[in-house]
């Protein structure tokens, strides 16, 4: 028996942390009729509509990966996180998280991950965060010495050491989020699921949270899956991006790959010796023309060809070539996925 246990221990080291196979979640949504008569009708005959929140999603996350989950509102990101953390059952499909079936909610499973939701509060409102941390220590049975050490490091890292004795309701949103994050990390989870961890925070607080996550990741090798609408978070943290839209997977790969794959044009910024000529329209879409400056959007594959054509005709003082902002590309990916979906 011992040998078998050891074998399990060894193999689990090499196994994926998260494995989702054809995860699907459909909700039955009650269709409310308009007006009083409609409401009365709803009392005896209810009309339901099937809504597919997540549609056969499959992916694997290896230990130590930091993965971003992108998609517009209502794409199914939160629903997927809820299935992976065991809050809801899928309609069909399978998942193994940390070698457990999440929705069986095994005690050992719950001790090894954390779910942080940017808009939900887990700390006790009327108590100092320190008391909530103590409660976590008991709930997760963290040894006192280790608890004090981790807590000291995390409060230092996030710069909130002086605030832990203040009632949570008196903290600012950013401070509260930092406390939430500390609470989520105290028990040293192997998997961290983050749903919009920086929502509503100012740039400084966002950066502090990002730094904390990055440092924590590099030191402890924790696996992270996060959703965010801030590309800044994604750029700062994640090497791999999963894009889902309308419940289905649209892209799975490195962040840079999104630009490669979906960024069809580049922004070429030109500075002429004299005034910018007015016949630039034939090279591409002119975004701006002001004095000696002109910005042109050019198809990715034709950038070098067009640049040399411009150089042949005009004297240039400066040239820069940029990728369009990631937000713009992502918006385009979402849009294309929507069109595909509608066409299908």
């Amino acid at each position: 028996m011992i040998e078998v246990d050891q074998l399990n221990l060894v193999t689990s080291e090499f196994m994926a942390i998260v494995e989702a196979i054809g995860l699907t979640k459909t909700y039955r949504v009650f269709q409310k009729k308009e007006g009083v008569l409609g409401a009365l009708r709803g009392l005896y005959r209810r009309d339901y509509r099937e809504v597919c929140a997540v549609d056969e999603i499959s992916f694997t996350i290896e230990p130590g990966e930091m993965v971003a989950f992108l998609g517009p509102n209502g794409a199914g990101k939160t629903t997927t996180l809820k299935m992976l953390s065991g809050l809801i059952y899928p309609t069909s499909g399978e998942a193994r998280v940390l070698d457990f079936v999440p929705w069986q909610r095994a005690d050992l499973f719950r001790r090894q991950f954390s779910l942080v939701m940017g808009q939900k509060n887990q700390l006790w409102w009327d108590l100092p965060a320190a008391d909530s941390f103590q409660l976590h220590r008991e709930i997760y049975s963290i040894p006192q010495a280790e608890f004090a050490k981790t807590l000291g490091e995390l409060t230092e890292l996030l710069g909130v050491a002086k605030l832990t004795r203040q009632a949570v309701r008196e903290l600012s949103l950013g401070e509260r989020m930092k406390m939430e994050l500390i609470a989520a990390l105290l028990h040293g989870p192997r998997l961290l699921l983050l749903d919009e961890p920086t929502i509503g925070l100012d740039v400084v607080a966002q950066a502090a949270i990002q730094k904390c996550l990055r440092d924590y990741h590099s030191q402890r090798g924790v696996t992270m899956l996060l959703t965010s609408h801030y590309m800044r978070d994604v750029e700062a943290l994640c090497d791999r991006v999963l894009v889902i839209n309308r419940g289905g997977m649209v892209y799975d790969g490195p962040l840079a790959g999104i630009i490669e794959k979906f960024g069809e044009s580049k922004l070429v910024k030109l500075q002429f010796e004299g005034l910018a000529p007015d016949d630039l329209g034939r090279f591409g879409q002119v975004v701006r023309r002001e004095g000696p400056f002109a910005d042109i959007k050019i198809e990715r594959s034709r950038v070098s060809e067009i640049l040399s054509a411009v150089l042949e005709r005009h004297a240039l003082a400066d040239v820069t070539v940029e990728d369009p902002p990631l937000e713009e590309i992502i918006a385009k990916v979402f849009e294309e996925a929507r069109l595909d979906h509608d066409a299908a």
């Binding site: 909700y27 039955r28 809820k82 953390s85 065991g86 809050l87 809801i88 059952y89 929705w103 909610r105 005690d107 050992l108 719950r110 001790r111 090894q112 991950f113 954390s114 779910l115 939701m117 939900k120 509060n121 887990q122 006790w124 009327d126 108590l127 320190a130 008391d131 909530s132 103590q134 409660l135 976590h136 220590r137 008991e138 709930i139 997760y140 049975s141 963290i142 040894p143 006192q144 280790e146 004090a148 050490k149 981790t150 807590l151 000291g152 490091e153 230092e156 890292l157 710069g159 050491a161 832990t164 004795r165 009632a167 028990h187 040293g188 730094k211 440092d215 030191q219 402890r220 090798g221």
Partner: protein, 305 residues
Amino acid sequence: MTPPDGLAAPSAPAPPSAATLAVEPLPRHAPPRGPIATLKKHTKILRVSLSERMTYRSDFLLGTILRFLPLVTTILLWKSIYESSGKSELAGFRYREMIAYLLLTHISRMFSSMPGLAAGIARDIREGTLKRYLIQPVDMIAYLLSYRVAHKLAYITMSIIPYVALFGVCRGYFDGIPGPLTLAAYAVSLVLSFFVGFYFEASVGMVGFWFLEVTSLLYIVMTLNFFISGHMLPLDLLPSPWSTILKALPFQYMAYFPAVVFLRKITGWNLVLHLLLELTWAVVFMVLSRGLYRLGLKRYSAYGG
């Protein structure tokens, strides 16, 4: 109140630079086993809850004092009822006993009433805060029980002075203090009334899994309970089928039963039998609340979250 030990204490060695975290991977914490570990965990929950309750101590005191005010009108009301009826006894209660009974039901309710428990569970379900019980390795019902014990301990501690004063003023309504055996039975009946009350309200709160809005339902249940538990008047006073029916129901253990134990109206084997019945009801409601929670979670996990 003792502050949590060694928390964020300056004695904790500060890391040399902000970015230093322990390099070694964290050991996995085996879940603690055995009743002692569980007890320890819940003692902590209790302690934290206790300090939370103490945040509102002035509210406590004011609430307790205000609760006594209606008593004056109740005493005057019963006085005139007895005088106009011309009888010295109503349903086996003399005037002084009646007042003593009404005072004692306040003690019963101090143990068995669970303000906000059912509504809190329903709110947790509706607003999704229920999540934390599903994500963290902690059982919701056990957690709420610890919280409630803390709440009650705080409440009873805070109310001791006003209650001692009240019973001192009203001592004329009592025929002395009952013997140690009766007092012991009284204490047991009160503790059990806490469990009956807790698991009953917990079961009611679980209805929130099936209905989004439970405020009016809770209002009806609580108002009805005020009457059928005997908080308002002794159940013996009701006409015959009703008093028998209500005495067969579990609600009497939340107010009526402990009071009549103190007044020595139930004695001997009858007392033992009723204590056992009270225990049985506590277990029945415990099983019910657990079952409803399990069913509710199934539904919750399928539809929402």
